[in-house]
Symmetry: C2
Subunit: 542 residues, 2 copies
Amino acid sequence: MAAEQDPEARAAARALLTDLYQATMALGYWRAGRAQEQAEFELFFRGCPFGGAFALAAGLRDCVRFLRAFRLQDADVQFLASMLPSDTDPAFFEHLRALDCSDVTVRALPEGSLAFPGVSCRVPLLQVCGPLLVVQLLETPLLCLVSYASLIATNAARLRLIAGPKKRLLEMGLRRAQGPDGGLTASTYSYLGGFDGSSNVLAGQLRGVPLAGTLAHSFITSFLGTEVPPNPMLAPAASQGPMVDLAACVEAWLDRVCAHLGLGVQEPHRGERAAFVAYALAFPRAFQGLLDTYSVQRSGLPNFLAVALALGELGYRAVGVRLDSGDLLQQAQEIRRVFRSISAQFQMPWLESISITVSNNIDEEELTRLAQEGSEVNVIGIGTNVVTCPRQPSLGCVYKLVSVGGQPRMKLTEDPEKQTLPGSKAAFRLLGADGSPLLDLLQLAEEAPPQAGQELRVWPRGAQGACTVRPAHVEPLLRLWVQQGQLCEPLPSLAESRAFAQLSLSRLSPEHKRLEQPAQYRVALSDKLQALVARLRAGGSS
Amino acid sequence: MAAEQDPEARAAARALLTDLYQATMALGYWRAGRAQEQAEFELFFRGCPFGGAFALAAGLRDCVRFLRAFRLQDADVQFLASMLPSDTDPAFFEHLRALDCSDVTVRALPEGSLAFPGVSCRVPLLQVCGPLLVVQLLETPLLCLVSYASLIATNAARLRLIAGPKKRLLEMGLRRAQGPDGGLTASTYSYLGGFDGSSNVLAGQLRGVPLAGTLAHSFITSFLGTEVPPNPMLAPAASQGPMVDLAACVEAWLDRVCAHLGLGVQEPHRGERAAFVAYALAFPRAFQGLLDTYSVQRSGLPNFLAVALALGELGYRAVGVRLDSGDLLQQAQEIRRVFRSISAQFQMPWLESISITVSNNIDEEELTRLAQEGSEVNVIGIGTNVVTCPRQPSLGCVYKLVSVGGQPRMKLTEDPEKQTLPGSKAAFRLLGADGSPLLDLLQLAEEAPPQAGQELRVWPRGAQGACTVRPAHVEPLLRLWVQQGQLCEPLPSLAESRAFAQLSLSRLSPEHKRLEQPAQYRVALSDKLQALVARLRAGGSS
């Protein structure tokens, strides 16, 4: 446990970020002399979100960070003591003070893996083994760290499938998230799921997420046009030649732009133009315009063009424009037409292909429209609809006990969807000759792994009986990441996990990748696991 | 700025929790010589969530905590420098290093206030004044801190209205939240909105939210019934008389319970019973049972009763039971019937009225059912449906510039819903003789406040013209909380804000409190503000 040396340990979730019943159960286990019994829990979800047939597993890096830093401080233990019976044996609190995760082992799907819940049969995202008391305490924080991360990564992957590979997708939802960490998690895992970047500076600083940002309406409305910039002079891009008064140069260009567009030169808002000039003075190499503060066609666009052309004359190339209201697709077409016409008129060929960014409550339906053939939109900013996952704002992950002291355990509730699969398990993905996944197989940990090219009998859940399958390739799904509290191999970088997710998705058959009414991917049990379930259900040994 | 002395400063959101465009605009303002200009922003939302006609304002305490701690560290400034043009004047970064909120003033609705957005006319939740550069930078974090807090407080208030005053409502959604802070915010502000407590230990420790918790299915499935507790002996409640072997005593009671219920004594699951005994040994004064791990009627209930009666014999009173699946209302009726019958049979009168807690994906509809006349449910645990606000997972707050250098500003976009109200404003709630709110009035800050008993002319938004109103009482809505960076008065405690919210709701007329298709509450402008809007819209001075 190298928590002190980990610069991110301070950022880890706190140990008391848990439900009170974990603490009361901890006391129950301890009083029953069972705190140190070896137990195994599985973390999984019961159905794919958003009506799809896949999810992306995510959140492992936050879980590892949490486990490495996990310690109850004196103040934490004192607080728990205040919540528990006053005659609780003080030795229990000594036990809590000494707790850490140095006896905890975690197997998990790598970040960005495809995860498929079958019908009441799920490959776990995490398998957590260790002393019963401590692995029970970990339930709530691990669920909290995995559930939303996987949900938003999946949401982002769907949006990427809709947008296609060429549109740039930016996450801009920090202000719509559930507080600071909600925002940080959203930015991190929407990038993992396939977005290109985020507006969230903290996600850039702490997680290396690529950042993007331009300007807001308030910047524009803050200018009246009567302000006198302390220094309106700008040197040419090549640093040769005299400095130029950018504001004056822009006014000259405005005349020519308005004449070309058939607008009166008084129509474009002078405050908006002053704001663009101020922004251009600060960012001559990265000038962008937000066009819809007053009127796109009569103000924002001509003002932007006047500044972009003035900069162009000095050798700078404007980066693009952003639209935040109205019919985004149609406006993008009109703007591109104007760009082409102006670009030809004033012989600035680079201008016709500058970037058009759009935002404003874009959901899957609107994204489909914006991504259609012939769309002139280049960059799409999505906030609320990526961050809050409004179609299904929770993944519903659960964390269930599957064995204690080496004995399998199973919850045999009357609600079949809430039954669990017993025992310590291994999981494999069986692939076809073309590398596409055929089905996932769950078996007991002690069974020999399936072999490529060999036929085997499996029990797909939801089906009436067994069937046979002959995989061309076999991939083990659950990797050992933390053993006895030690990280076994470096976690992949966020960018590596992002690439892995895209690769995995590219191999998935289109019938499972469809966003509406996809074919369900099959998950099956081995003969032995199927037999154990039947035995426990009949009351055999549990 | 007493950030260092504030024990919660460490918990405050970080300064770089913001959108990149705030930093690029900061450079734009600075380059234009406008960093220190006095500006005012308003934070408001555009429509009430969940189809209702009210919202609760919340999140102010987190905003104040953030403002007091706001500082860019060296590493933060270096990171921003890496995101900005390499030839940016170093003096800009010196300016950032020296930034704090010591020139920032905040007026706001008190925590728990009723907030009503009129038709394109909103009383702001926050008014933030200060140097343009710094108040611009605050946009994203303030939105992030207010938006979800107000959303979940409102959601909780609706659930409380449905449940009525007598049911206990517990928030249990930490595992469904958007990461750690999402969970902490959810627990804090669902309590403010009217819940009785939470399962989230961190919310109890950091925010003083009352906590509740029992046990989970994993505790029960971890027991086979073959375990030997190290010490099965329990002393009577009154501490007089000999210790008793609780497990043995429970077995004797099980015979009597099964005989009375007509069950075979082998039917109740022995592992479940062992788990209940273990929990009772740890919590003899707070014993609760989770009934649905195997079968409520044939296992969970008789096992619980055997333990409760054995404890009862020793003078302890069990606290209650929890159900987490199936038809909760119907099972509660059946369980209560059994409690009554057992209580009479074995002369333990307290047993008939112990608490029945239910949980399992409870939403507004199911809550309505559970709260109906004659329901035997006492405590209702809600997770996903309070935390994720699935009917509308984002409030959509915005933060808009309303004045710079004392001059009003207005966004005159072509989308009328996105227009803003210009100028520094004051807001008043006009009340009827019975204390119920009639309408909210927005006027320019310099206007004299409306007087109780005096008729005045106002312009309700969405209406064709002006109307007159004669309030019996007038309440100023926006209080000064932070002046020049100093807290002006202590923030009310969370429990005080919770009581204020309930009081405010009790005074609101039922037509506005209806959860579906309520009458919209009116917000009106004063004569002078109405005239300013008309003038700016006509292009008068902006």
